[in-house]
Assembly symmetry: C2
Homo-oligomer: 233 residues x 2
């Protein structure tokens, strides 16, 4: 009788599934250290090369973390770890897909902002105001963009849903915003952006979720509409 299980897919793919399964079944806890690459390969009856490819793939997915000279560890499996790859989607999307992505962001960002209006603490609100002021105090597009991102990041964080915040972080990834930003700024959109941010801030101060939701939706919607018009060219 042959005990060799039916080979489905590539060896590396099987290794990925096996490791994922071990984590899903709780046999590997977050933060725990895995056996060495050499041992793992031996356990699953494959070469170290194939096992390394599996580990590399899971590392990129944010499931594992390899520390040179120390070992391989399971990440904390928190939202930030696993959703980091979400940025790749934003980076590689083009044309109509960017609009769809922005539409998703509008939905999530407006919800997050509404939640934040109800839950934001005084400290967090102070941080929001810090970035708002910094944004209005300079004309350097790079700096404005940085504070713009931080502005929304603090708000998303105040919404109390780390998963949602992590997704929004990915949707607002550096290159994504930078690409849209380039042409956007040359239409005097800065002034409008500042007004919109001010409106969001007002709603947060007033602790008015509905106003916050509307302001955030309008804010993202502006960019969305602009991008949509660009595609029609």
């Amino acid at each position: 009788m042959d005990e060799t299980v039916p080979q489905k897919g590539t060896v590396t793919q099987r290794a990925i599934e096996r490791i994922k399964a071990m984590i899903a079944e709780g046999r590997l806890e977050p933060g725990q250290r895995l056996p060495t690459e050499r041992d793992l390969a031996a356990q699953l009856g494959m070469s170290r090369s194939s096992m390394r490819e599996a580990i590399r793939a899971l590392t990129v997915l944010g499931v594992l973390e390899a520390r040179h000279g120390s070992g391989i560890y399971v990440t904390q499996l928190e939202a930030g770890d696993l959703l980091e790859t979400f940025g790749v989607v934003a980076d590689l999307s083009r044309g109509p897909q960017l609009v769809e992505l922005l539409e998703v962001r509008r939905v999530l960002e407006s919800t997050a902002t509404a939640l934040a209006a109800a839950r934001i603490t005084a400290d967090q609100l102070a941080e929001v105001e810090k970035h708002l002021a910094a944004m209005n105090a300079t004309d350097d597009p790079e700096e404005i963009l940085a504070h713009d991102l931080a502005f929304h990041r603090v708000i998303a964080g105040a919404a109390g849903n780390d998963t949602m915040a992590a997704i929004l972080e990915g949707l607002s990834s550096r290159t994504f915003r930078a690409r849209v930003w380039r042409g956007y700024e040359e239409e005097g959109a800065f002034a409008r952006t500042r007004r919109e941010h001010a409106a969001i801030h007002r709603a947060l101060v007033a602790r008015d979720p509905e106003a916050a939701r509307a302001a955030a939706a309008a804010h993202v919607g502006e960019v969305e509409e602009w991008l949509r018009s660009q595609l029609g060219t």
Copy 2:
């Protein structure tokens, strides 16, 4: 003078960035075939092993597709390709993070259902009804789950935003639903689920976005609340 660029991170990591950049810059179009592993490795001045790890990682991310004996190709970079990995998040999330994930799903699902109410075609509506009927005609949990998933999939597809549909697909991934489903069914929740699905269907037929949004939000919210109560144990 040394021409060797400053080595940042691992060789494999650099290869991943380089290939991603090539795609982002449009030097590699969707569907296009890449040079062979051996050539790519030579071009970037690294070993085939390291290049293979990079390719494997991008394959898992849904950016590349390797066809044994044929070559390596860029995927269509559509929502479905890139967001397939989103299922991993759902598979490996536990406890409070599952609730957060469900909260995100509630937001997106309700929006998608509202959009569907305005845009769904007769054919799509017929498909929805097919799964609704099949779902009510059996008591086999497995089959019910399958039609449940299909029910929501058709609706998400009718919303007209493939990106949103792909994310929802990941959030409703098989194992994710199966895990929640297990205990959920033993509380007579089937009857309630059927009522909720009927409500969603009614809203779609009436082409009433607001009713659809409310019905979908309530539907997901029910599961969300149940899961939240389970964690309190």
